[in-house]
């Protein structure tokens, strides 16, 4: 899956779930944690990523390096998908 497509899906989920549909309120590099997403929201995002992309998100993965912006989350998902694909080959 292309990173842009991943980004698009994540963006749609965030806008619908946390920004009341206001897509103008979310920049690609905007910090998500503690701002866009509240504490229970992080769990919602994790559940979404697991369901949508078939990943397992470990507790220790929920760190700013992976979750702080749409770009970070998309890159994290792409890495996990790559790893999964490699493991499956």
């Amino acid at each position: 899956m292309h990173t842009t497509d991943i980004e698009h899906q994540i963006r749609s989920f965030l806008v619908d779930n946390f920004l009341f549909g206001r897509s103008d309120a979310l920049g690609d590099h905007e910090s998500l944690l503690g701002g866009v997403i509240d504490s229970t929201g992080t769990l919602e995002l994790v559940v979404f990523l697991q369901d949508r992309f078939g990943l397992t998100v470990e507790d220790e993965d929920v760190v700013p390096e992976n979750f702080d912006s749409i770009k970070h989350v998309a890159a994290y998902v792409a890495r996990k998908l790559d790893a999964k694909a490699c493991a499956g080959q």
């Binding site: 009341f20 206001r22 503690g34 509240d38 504490s39 229970t40 769990l43 919602e44 507790d59």
Partner: protein, 659 residues
Amino acid sequence: MCGICGLLKLDGRQADPNQIGKMIATLHHRGPDARGSNVSGCAGLAHARLSIIDLQSGAQPMSTADGRLWITFNGEIFNYIELREQLLSKGHSFATRSDTEVILNAYHEFGEDCVNHFNGQWAFAIWDRKEQKLFLSRDRLGVRPLFYTQTTDSFLFASEIKALLACPEVPREVDPKGMDQIFTFWVTLPPRTVFKNIFQLPPGHSLTVKDNCVRVRQYWSIPYMQDGNPHSGNEGEAAEELLHLLQDATRIRLRSDVPVGAYLSGGIDSTVTTALVRKLANNGLRSFSITFEDSEFDESSYQREASSFLGTQHSNVSCSHADIARVFSQVVQHTEQPIVRTAPVPMFLLSRLVRESGFKVVLTGEGADEVLGGYDIFKEAKIRRFWARNLDSKWRPLLLKRLYPYLQDFQRQPAANLKNFFRVSGEDLESPFFSHLPRWELTARLKLLFSAEFRAEIGKYDAIGELEGALPPDFRSWPHFTQGEYLETNYFLSGYLLSSQGDRMAMAHSVEARYPFLDYRVLEFAAKLPVNLKMKVLNEKYLLRRACAGLVPDSILRRPKQPYRAPDARCFFDVEAPAYVKELLSPYAIEKNGIFDAQAVSALVNKFRAGRASSVKDDMALVGVLSTQILATQFTKPWEILSEPCIQQTSSIKSEAFS
């Protein structure tokens, strides 16, 4: 306890008795026992009375024997007996046994400084015919409300905004800046309200109108850091002094010519006040509480334990999701400002229980958390600061788990989540609002729901910046804990807890609440206490627990804190939710009021309908939108409906005798 209102014609013409009559009629719920008005030239005062002291001769408006001073007064001056003696010795005479006449004579003796002699909760207006001066005053913490406005030819004031809106010349417009403040702080910053050109007299302030000039003056503030003179005694002495002060604060709050009851929530604060009442009045004390069908919020086992220990005759009212949805619109008519939580609703049901049980006066434990260091927000700030000193620490953020043991969702989260949510930046650490930023930033996210037009009206207005400009000059040098206390007590306590959740909910059913923890002597004592006697490490209300050991059951003294909360937005999506909820949240109604974006609200509503809403923010957003819609819709309609006493019976009342 009563409702007051009045007006002053600034053009010198005679005040219109009909206009005053219309205003006071909207305040019937505050004073159903009697109604009176007086027009004296260009000034008119009116009063709706809830008779509590001097039932026979305390009618208002009241004047001095010479007819020079006229007063309309809402509240109680608890030290009126001592003041009366003092004034008698100075040669004043009294025709009644009321505290109202004590105010009149004190004003005569001390002028505007009379308020410094009062220990109580008040909002009053005095018209001085000789000086042609109107004097308004509001108690130190704003327990009693007082609003005012000015039109082209009149100055008008009242206990509630609805009385001002009864005058056709007063505009009925939402103030975008007031809304911006509510959707940041949960309160407006006095004197602002959510209505344009309608103001509240800030707590601890007086106002005069003379020669068409309005002057507002602060006569008291909480003396944090004021004289640099901390409490000098040791811990034992401080505990003894606190208990002594609380006993006396309770004693003078039992002064009443009608029976006094007590709210008993099952927490330490109301158990302490009930225990103090029990010691002073050893008769069949009645206590009252709310129980919840939803076990997450229910504290009835602690209530039973406290009632049994103290030997009170206890009654409770059960509050279900359906009850909250059913009475929410009535509640908002009384709060007169949007609310982002449903917590006032059960207080509305509780005051009805009290009233239907034949009581007009209750003592409550409100204020202990603010005054004596009980709030989690203080604890949260302490942990965040502690962690910030070593951000790489693996175990420091785990302390966050000690916060909010009662929040089930919160406890289920991995530490990593909490760490992200509560993470601290260097910029935050420098902020004078460090303790409150997480709450304000979360609430401010709700502003995303505002429509483009409404956002344009708000423009670049910065609510937090305005608050910063209003802080005491040396605020930044205060201890962090004291900064948090100041923000919580100065703004949240008076603007929300004592109004939306306090006076308005009690007075909706003509019940007067009295607060021993908010006696100004307790506040002045507590302001001088070393911080570690309020919160010792992470033990909240440390000194109170020490002072009151033995007075209350050990299990209640030691129980983990469970702040009072109520089920939120999900109440409005049960199958039996009333029709008004759907109507007011419809795109048509949202667009009609123009405050919110219809598409954004629909997205939120759909999330709830689909059962996908689970966050605190979504809950607050839905409750905030619905309450705003109720308010915006109601205030464009005639207010007369509010003058009808509420007779709808919606909840079951149970009486239990444990004694």
